[in-house]
């Protein structure tokens, strides 16, 4: 993704929300619109652009791009209708419960023109402590929600929320929080945020369902925007930081500054605020700290490094490894400008790259069937559903036989010999095994010296 595409999108977003950055002229000559649309998807701003057409005034847009965005906007609006319905139902079922709805849903309700403009992947709710959180969790479990298994990343990286709860049939994910940051913010800060929270302002809504006050919302969104540069849709979150500041009066902006100082978050908030300013021309508050790793990684994550381009796939992969490893360190409480941290980040990143390379090269590692497969016979074929990846496969009889023959971990060589003994041809069996590995139905086990590197 080129820096120019990022800039072009940022300028269009500034137009969409009538922010100061819209005075810049978008440099879109020979723009790769497919790349632009991929960037829109990655940063989840399609529904906003599809719903607000003001950004089209700044220059022509291909019809197919416009139609794709309108489609995203409508589908998202239908999705949000269900999410709002579900949130109301849960809170109304226990009128005594109180929680502060955060991020996407809160902004969709209070900031955006309508909730269909904001994509949400989950509903985040903050509680005053473990007691109310557990009570809410109980309500959800009774209602058919289940705890999501920890992801591979989650297992190694500390999190400030409990394992998400999801409802498979309804397709809703709820994340319950006692804190808003990793490492955690001091308890009094969280209490102060909750004390300052406000009702949604929607008359028929449960009084227990609240949102952060505008100043806390900016601070939380600013922290969130840069805390997770590997996974978070950074551009949208930065846009929201800048947009909120842009629509605040000076008194409210001063309150954001005061709170950021008092809560010791001024550097984290300032980084996001200044990055939003560079992208969208929105107001700045707080002084910009010295250039540090967090900003470097954020810009790498965006692929927006001013004069540099990050077009090469290997460079993007490496930058993501670096960003991921670095954030891990910062989240463990280490300083972002500490040279030793940087050294360990680099070495960890190299180890991970080497590990994935070495693992790919090993052909004699034992194979095993991935655990989450559900199968059913369809005529002579086998329908296979991988619950973890969501993949669905229809295997021909031989591929089905090969898959089902992997009852315990075994090397490809051993499996081939076994099936050849049953009359199958070795090259066909090997092709089947390769296909099953490629489709993720058989996984290679890490062995021996490879394991510590993974």
């Amino acid at each position: 993704m080129s820096a120019r595409t990022i800039e072009a999108l940022a300028t269009r977003l500034a137009h969409a929300l009538d922010m100061p950055g819209h005075h810049r002229r978008p440099r879109e000559a020979n723009l790769d619109w497919e790349e632009w649309l991929a960037l829109v998807d990655e940063h989840r701003v399609g529904p906003l652009l599809g719903a607000r057409r003001t950004w089209e005034r700044s220059g022509p847009v291909p019809t197919w791009v416009r139609e794709a965005l309108i489609s995203q906007s409508l589908r998202n609006a239908h999705e949000m209708v269900f999410h709002i319905s579900e949130l109301l139902r849960v809170f109304r079922s226990r009128p005594r419960l109180s929680g502060v709805v955060l991020k996407g849903v809160a902004l969709a309700l209070t900031r955006y023109g309508h909730s269909g403009e904001r994509v949400i992947s989950d509903v985040d709710v903050l509680f005053r402590g473990i007691g109310p959180l557990e009570e809410f969790k109980e309500v959800l479990l009774e209602d058919g929600y289940v705890a999501s298994p920890p992801s591979a990343a989650g297992a190694t990286q500390p999190h400030h929320h409990h394992p998400p709860l999801h409802h498979p049939a309804r397709g809703v994910v709820l994340e319950l929080h006692e804190n808003l940051s990793t490492p955690p913010l001091p308890r009094p800060v969280i209490q102060e945020m909750i004390d300052a929270s406000v009702p949604t302002g929607l008359p028929a809504w449960p009084t227990g369902l609240r949102v952060l006050d505008p100043a806390s919302q900016v601070i939380h969104q600013a922290m969130h925007a840069l805390d997770d540069p590997v996974d978070s849709p950074l551009l949208r979150n930065l846009l929201e930081v800048g947009w909120q500041l842009h629509t605040m009066d000076p008194f409210e902006r001063e309150r954001v500054e005061d709170l950021a100082h008092r809560w010791g978050l001024e550097d984290r908030v300032a980084e996001a605020v200044h990055l939003a300013h560079d992208l969208f021309g929105t107001p700045t508050i707080l002084s910009l700290p010295d250039f540090g790793a967090r900003r470097a990684w954020s810009m790498l994550r965006l692929g927006w490094t001013g004069s540099h381009r990050l077009d090469k796939p290997w460079a993007r992969r490496l930058s993501r490894h670096l960003a991921d490893a670095h954030l891990r360190r910062i989240n463990q409480g280490e300083g972002e400008r500490d040279l030793l941290v940087l050294a360990s980040v680099l070495s960890e990143s190299l180890r991970r790259s080497a590990s994935s390379f070495i693992t790919r090269q090993r052909k004699d590692r034992p194979l095993e069937r991935v655990p989450a497969l559900v199968t059913a016979e369809i005529g002579e074929a086998l329908l296979v559903f991988d619950r973890d990846s969501g993949g669905v496969h229809l295997l021909d009889p031989l591929a089905a036989e090969v898959l089902l023959s992997v009852e315990a971990p075994a090397t490809a060589k051993h499996l081939t010999e076994e099936l050849v003994a049953k009359g199958r041809e070795a090259p066909t069996v090997r092709t089947c095994l390769e296909l099953l590995v490629e489709r993720g139905l058989l996984a290679g086990l890490a062995v021996g010296g490879i394991l510590p590197l993974c």
Binding site: L74, A77, I84, L88, H114, P168, F385
Partner: protein, 271 residues
């Protein structure tokens, strides 16, 4: 004065009769109109903006902005999502359902395959209409349930339903909604006897049912399953059971001859 639409036993919509959203909901979901409601009820309404567009509100929260003639398609999409996601023990297929001479047939296909048109024309010919968009299926895979949303028809067959109002769906273009009088009540069970995959093909000489093997329909059924296989426990087994029903591909150029082919199939299965 308010009106209610019970989209499934656990969720209903409520709107004032003076709000344009009421007539939009009646166009699409009139078969679900109910005086008594169960489960959770959401009030929906609209507000007219200065630019002539309508804000759509769910319990006072703005959820979308539409042109007035796009309100019914917007509520169709939102209502389908609300209904489908709360069908927690049923696989939901993107399909139409018909009962022809006592024989239950599911018409399965993606947008543009013509399943709505065929279901509607079959219903006009006197057969029972179980819906044109969502077809909830029991985990056992042997019966469906009626979800009789009004059939959505597109420009090609507008002349057959000239008295119906036209709406502009930003995704599908001009649409009209038609609820045939022969529709089943919501949730009426329909024992399934056959799966038909229709496809409108201008070059098709005559509508002819072509048998399919089970392996050919498994993935199309998965593709037409709302929310994927992870949504409901037992989905894979349910798909496998559906694959055991008689299965046909129905290419057609003339919709009436396709309806005749469905009638012949029903007669054969009944015999």
């Amino acid at each position: 004065m308010g009106r209610h639409w019970q989209l499934n036993p656990s969720v209903a919509l409520e709107a004032s009769t003076t709000d344009p959203i009421c007539s939009a909901l009646d166009e699409v979901f009139s078969a679900f109109a109910s005086k008594e409601v169960t489960g959770h009820t959401h009030r929906v309404s609209t507000e007219l903006r200065d630019d002539g567009r309508l804000e759509v509100l769910l319990e006072g929260a703005r959820v979308g902005t539409v042109e007035p003639d796009a309100l019914a398609p917007f509520m169709e999409g939102s209502g389908l999502g609300l209904a489908m996601r709360r069908m927690e023990e049923r696989l939901v297929l993107h399909a139409a359902g018909l009962e022809i001479a006592g024989v239950g047939i599911a018409l399965i296909g993606e947008k543009g395959s013509g399943k709505s048109t065929l279901a509607l024309l079959a219903a006009v010919a006197g057969h029972r209409f179980f819906g044109d968009e969502l077809l909830p299926i029991a985990a056992s895979g042997d019966r469906a349930f009626a979800f009789p949303k009004s059939a959505t028809i597109k420009e090609g067959v507008f002349h057959l339903f000239a008295d119906k109002a036209e709406h502009q769906d930003p995704l599908r273009g001009a649409v009209r909604y038609v609820l045939p009088p022969s529709h089943a009540a919501p949730d009426t069970p329909l024992p399934l006897r056959a799966l038909v995959f229709p496809r409108f093909m201008r070059e098709a000489e005559e509508a002819e049912l072509m048998p399919l093997v089970a392996e050919e329909v498994a993935l199309p059924l998965v593709q037409q399953t709302f929310g994927g296989l992870e949504r409901v426990e037992g989905s894979v087994e349910c798909i496998a059971r559906l694959c055991r029903l008689p299965r046909y591909f129905l290419p057609y150029a003339d919709a009436m001859s396709a309806v005749a082919a469905l009638e012949a199939l029903a007669a054969e299965l009944q015999a």
